[in-house]
Amino acid sequence: MQKQKIQIWDLPIRLFHWLLVITIALSYLTIEIGGIWADWHARLGALALGLIVFRVLWGFFGNKQARFSQFFPTPSRLIQYFKGQWQGLGHSPLGALAVFALLGLTGVVVITGLFANDDITLFGPLYPLIDQSLSDWMTGVHAIAFNALLTVIGLHLLAIFFYWLVKKNNLIKPMLTGKKYLEIHHHTDQTKAEAKPVYFFISIALTLLVVWLTFGNVLTDLLATKPVPQAPSSQSQW
């Protein structure tokens, strides 16, 4: 059977993937160490927010293999997969379940993080929009969702090792190079896989807008009901 090198992951997907890996690892590290590193946890949060927003947009407007509709794990696709009949490029239906779980949980972690507080020095950028008890609740959800995320990451890694060792299928390399040798007997249409560049720039622009609205204090300034903490003034004479 003839094999051909085919591009299965585009550059934005690969960049997203590895940047997210790094961001999650460093977020964990910085919050565990705490102290002066707590600030970095929030900064990394801005990066994580940007990554997630971009990935969601790219899931609608991106290249073919990035689009959610292409790999949404519908029951019929899953059944096909378990019968061993699924053929295609990109995420398998089971892999797609993992993708949605990972994206969803990271989304919950990031969004709750925006409202979280540690009562010490770390306050999410949207903390001023809600009251303390809701923020405390968000903080609890933030921690729980993170633990769930770690669990799914663990499963994700196990599956990759399983593919590697048992199925002799290295999934890591394509995520680095984007390319994979495949037998070219499936019917997957290779044409029209590329999104127009303008969609990429629109996605980037919207992503930056969202990050600016949250981390640039724009939303809090517009919507805050309680005063945003101010540096102390030496106005008070006593």
């Binding site: 002066i36 010490i120 540096a231 102390p232 030496s234």
Partner: protein, 155 residues
């Protein structure tokens, strides 16, 4: 017999009322107030470190001294047994583990006291760089205790 136990109970209750740390609800209230006050001062310092143009040596020293004073006030007295349940200004977030691991509790509490006093000394220098590093140590000591002995979410 019942009269005797009634008498004993009232004596015990009266004693509790008169002792320094008071009944459970009072201890929790003082405790929450103390940490709120500490938190206020911590955030004043943080705000100034984040915005160097607002940095004021005197205000940082005042806040640092306030934290050290609270640390030195004997907060341990507000951790009487039974204070892992109940309501002060709000439901307490003290974990029951606090009483099961007294050694760890003591270590974390004394580390905080130490850092608070060290920080007050460094604040005197008025040097933002040194202050920032020491402030990191201080807030790490807050976090260590919160991670071990404070519920994530209000009970």
């Amino acid at each position: 017999m019942t009269k005797l136990s009634l008498l004993l109970t009232s004596v015990v209750l009266l004693n509790a009322g008169l002792s320094h740390a008071g009944p459970i609800e009072d201890q929790i209230k003082y405790r929450q107030s103390a940490y709120s006050f500490i938190g206020w001062n911590t955030n004043k310092i943080k705000a100034q470190l984040d915005k160097p143009e607002t940095f004021s040596k005197e205000e940082v020293i005042a806040a640092a001294n306030a934290i050290a004073a609270a640390a030195n006030s004997g907060l341990g007295a507000l951790y009487g047994s039974g204070t892992d349940q109940g309501e002060g200004w709000r439901k307490t977030r003290l974990k029951s583990e606090f009483f099961q691991k007294p050694d760890e509790a003591k270590k974390l509490a004394t580390t905080f006291n130490l850092e608070a006093n060290e920080f007050a000394k460094v604040a005197e220098t008025g040097d933002p760089v040194q202050i920032k590093v020491k402030f990191g140590k201080l807030t790490q000591s807050c976090k260590a205790c919160h991670d071990s002995f404070r519920e994530k979410d209000p009970k």
